[in-house]
Amino acid sequence: MEHVQLVGLAIIVSILIGVPLGVYLTTNEYLAESVLQIFSIIMTIPSIALFGVMIPILSTIGQGIGFLPAFIALVLYSQLPIIRNTYTGINEVDPNIRDAAKGLGMTTLQRLIKVEIPNAMPLIMAGVRTATVLNIGVGAIAAYIGAGGLGSLINQGISRSNTTMVLVGAVVVSILAIVVDQLLRYFEKRFTPKGI
């Protein structure tokens, strides 16, 4: 349950940051390139290393290990798929549709809400799905810094040389990833307007 909580909370916060940021970046191509690059670099940092870096920083507020560093790491890892897919999705809305929306007298915000976001929905949701599955995996490693979750099962299994325990942990993590992915696929269908 700890695992689901951690990943769920991280994804919600990631969407709240990533989607608006992705939308904003469509108005600023130069900034978009830099931001996407930064998050690409973050993606390449091994999770263990990222946790390691955060321990001394967050220790200054007494949160060096446990939930907070794990949460921050997950949010950071989620940004690339979410921002990039939102950015691409909005950018790839048919220019004719955007032109029509403009010509009919929609404000920028109306265009975004009524036309651009709905039409970019399949791509945005695909980004969220990627981020979620990724986070379920990374979340397991967060057990090393005491964030609990299914990772602790694997951890304990390794330290006790208990193969069964390791396997159970790994299989449960995989099942969780598959189930959540399917669940999100259902939501993706629900949230995508019928006409697309």
Partner: protein
């Protein structure tokens, strides 16, 4: 109604897309902006609703500068139709058509009535299409819906950017005819971009012909065809311009101008309706489908016989006798 005053559009400091254009459009007129691709006609159209900025000069809509108008409010009062229809794939046909009334905050009842009226106008059954999505419709139907959407809030002015350009020729002719019927009823002031001289002659009350951003001639189709202002215009309308001009007339125009040969009941003759285009009549006669055609009025009564000689006489009379008109 719509005045272009010395309008220019300059890109990147030197490229003139539109070059000192001056002309006026009267209320209820359909003016075709015609010219080869890259002549600035679409840019000029988009300057009216400020999708493109005006570099020099001004455009006045109802005596008010479009530069000074609130863009959003103004656009809602100008119907806009584009070639690729631009329907929103995420919205039902009803939502699409009612987008402007919705932005303007019309109540449900008023929207419903308007939707039903518009769908009847474009010849689609309101209840059958209400809940469907654009991708479920054929190209022709989508384009009709695009027209309905532009008409939704009953704007006095419509901008149409090659609205029927992407349709296949058969559907295209049909929709052009339908649209002319609709225009007879609604009498909007329309700017209609086209690169097709035939379409321009058929649709336009007047034609504005452009080349490299400059207005070459602005006049009635008849004048453009018979009295081209310069070399370019005459080249653009083509050497078969007299043939093209035949689509300006119906059989009725001919009947009113020259007298038909008397009709004797002898064997079977092909008949044509009075509202048939003269172009089709000529084609039929030349095609040896018939040497003569019987003209039928709306009640099915035969008024007389039409031959190629009569058509020739009529056209000759038109060209010689029509007084010169100015745009």
């Amino acid at each position: 109604m719509l005045e272009f005053k010395n309008v220019s559009k300059i890109y990147n400091g030197n490229k003139k897309a539109v070059d000192h254009v001056n002309f006026n459009v009267d209320e209820g007129e359909l003016v075709v902006l015609l010219g080869p691709s890259g002549c600035g006609k679409t840019t000029l159209l988009r300057m009216v609703n400020q999708l493109e900025s005006i570099t020099e000069g001004d455009i006045h809509l109802n005596n008010k500068s479009v530069k000074e108008s609130n863009k959003i409010e103004m656009r809602r009062k100008i119907g806009y139709v584009i070639q690729s229809n631009g329907l929103f794939p995420n919205m039902t046909i009803e939502k699409n058509v009612m987008i402007v009334p919705d932005l303007l905050g019309w109540d449900r009842k008023k929207q419903l009535d308007r939707f039903n009226y518009l769908m009847e106008l474009i010849g689609l059954h309101p209840d059958e299409y209400r809940k469907r999505y654009p991708h479920e419709l054929s190209g022709g139907q989508q384009q009709r819906v695009g027209v309905a959407r532009a008409l939704a809030a009953d704007p006095p002015v419509m901008l149409m950017d090659e609205p029927f350009g992407a349709l296949d020729p058969i559907i295209r002719t049909k929709i052009q005819d339908e649209f002319l019927q609709i225009q007879k009823e609604i009498k909007k002031t329309i700017l209609f971009v086209s690169h097709d001289i035939d379409e321009a002659v058929k649709m336009g009350d007047k034609i504005a012909l452009f080349r490299d951003g400059q207005l070459q001639q602005y006049n009635h189709p008849f004048e453009i065809l018979h009295r081209p202002a310069n070399e370019f215009v005459s080249e653009f309308v083509g050497q078969d311009r007299v043939l093209k001009s035949t689509s300006l007339y119906s059989v009725k125009d001919l009947v009113d101008s020259v007298s038909l040969t008397g009709y004797q009941k002898a064997g079977s003759v092909q008949t044509v309706q009075e509202d048939t285009s003269l172009r089709i009549v000529i084609s039929k006669l030349l095609n040896q489908e018939a040497e003569q055609l019987a003209v039928e009025d709306t009640k099915g009564k035969i008024k007389g016989i039409l031959t190629l000689d009569l058509v020739e006489k009529f056209l000759y009379k038109q060209i010689k006798e029509t007084p010169k008109r100015t745009g």
